[in-house]
Point group: C2
Amino acid sequence: MEFSVHIKMNEKLYLRDPEQSELGRKILKHGLELINKLGFEEFTFKKLAVAINTTEAGIYRYFENKHRLLIYLMTFYWSYLEYKIVFSINNLTSPEKKLKKAIELLVVEGDDAEVPSYLSVKKLQQLVMWEGSKAYLTRHVGTDNKDRLFKPYKDLCARLSDLILSYSPKYKFPHSLASTVVEMAHAQKFFKNNLPALTDFPNEKEDKKLTAFLENLLFSSMNTK
Amino acid sequence: MEFSVHIKMNEKLYLRDPEQSELGRKILKHGLELINKLGFEEFTFKKLAVAINTTEAGIYRYFENKHRLLIYLMTFYWSYLEYKIVFSINNLTSPEKKLKKAIELLVVEGDDAEVPSYLSVKKLQQLVMWEGSKAYLTRHVGTDNKDRLFKPYKDLCARLSDLILSYSPKYKFPHSLASTVVEMAHAQKFFKNNLPALTDFPNEKEDKKLTAFLENLLFSSMNTK
DNA sequence: TTTACATGATAGTATTACTATCTTTTTTAA
DNA sequence: TTAAAAAAGATAGTAATACTATCATGTAAA
């Protein structure tokens, strides 16, 4: 049996649905790659247009601006991750195991085969690490939030928050703890690679120590008081 | 007795020392204010030039680009904060009290009177909250790091890391825990104000709950195992 | 087969992120 | 005090960015 999950994207993110056309899918695929290559600040629609042999105007028909494209890619990833977590913990019984699984999924390299070929989980993870917080660190975070653009991220944190409460019903800060773990999964990876003095992780390929750190952070907090 | 501390800034940050001239100090003061007002992306040297009645070229004589100005302001804050922590815990004996003091200083509104009049701790704190991570989330983080531009931030984390070890010598991830607490002090404030679903803090002026969360996070981790 | 619609091609604009040059003013040092 | 050095002001210019607009063409659905 073969199947794939389709993630319904917020319609406010685009002007024309990029999944529905060849050009749209090219924008997503090469957009992701080019942002990763150049960094978000250096990335422009002009450069993307050249890369996929179309015109700037062509891309503007799909996305209002590059920031919307960034949020599109980010929210795809958060939705995918939430789905992946729900699916993976479905068969588990203890909240402890569920939370450990969730941390593992936050940290390990994803599998590109699980998403449409015009996207790549590994590349999305790189994007989250480098550009993730730029999705919300803008002056229009308020209106973007009203447009529910951050719903997938909030849903993911809410999901973790529920797990935290089911493990430790009296814990006082489940949402903050959830967002801390999610943020730190990526921030600590960035630090490990770029500002290693801020971490205790040797620069090896595996992220076992990061996983251990996040588990320690999460379970210690929940087990206290 | 009146005194003030002078923070020596990394010379690579500027082309001409902004503290040494009226124009330089105006760039710092109004630069900080204008970035806070417009957000870093919308902020330009042209707009700043208009605001302080000089020319774009005039500002470029002090700072290579707006990103350097951002790092200048950020590192000033991190240096100030480290000094403030060292000064405040000097008279304390227990590592526990020292760490609690450090968290308090990370969270509470600073006192503008403690820095030169062309800067403002409160405004720098707003800057850290909104633009802080943009200082390092760039493709040139490697070269910037080689130029030691992030030293004040790393020093601050190292300081906290030492306190963590003196409280709990066997704790395995003192640097990561330190950077987590510092990052979260600001990220959670941002979430509280802008994406409250990611926190458990009601939108009141006081940050007592944030302090409680950070203390819980820190001490639980250190007390485990 | 009409007609709607997506794409392509081209052009244009205000702004950004600089660099260059020349003049005037202020500071400093002989 | 005066000459020279340095800082600031004024102006200009350039390539790139972040769009918007228009018109032609090809393709797919009614």
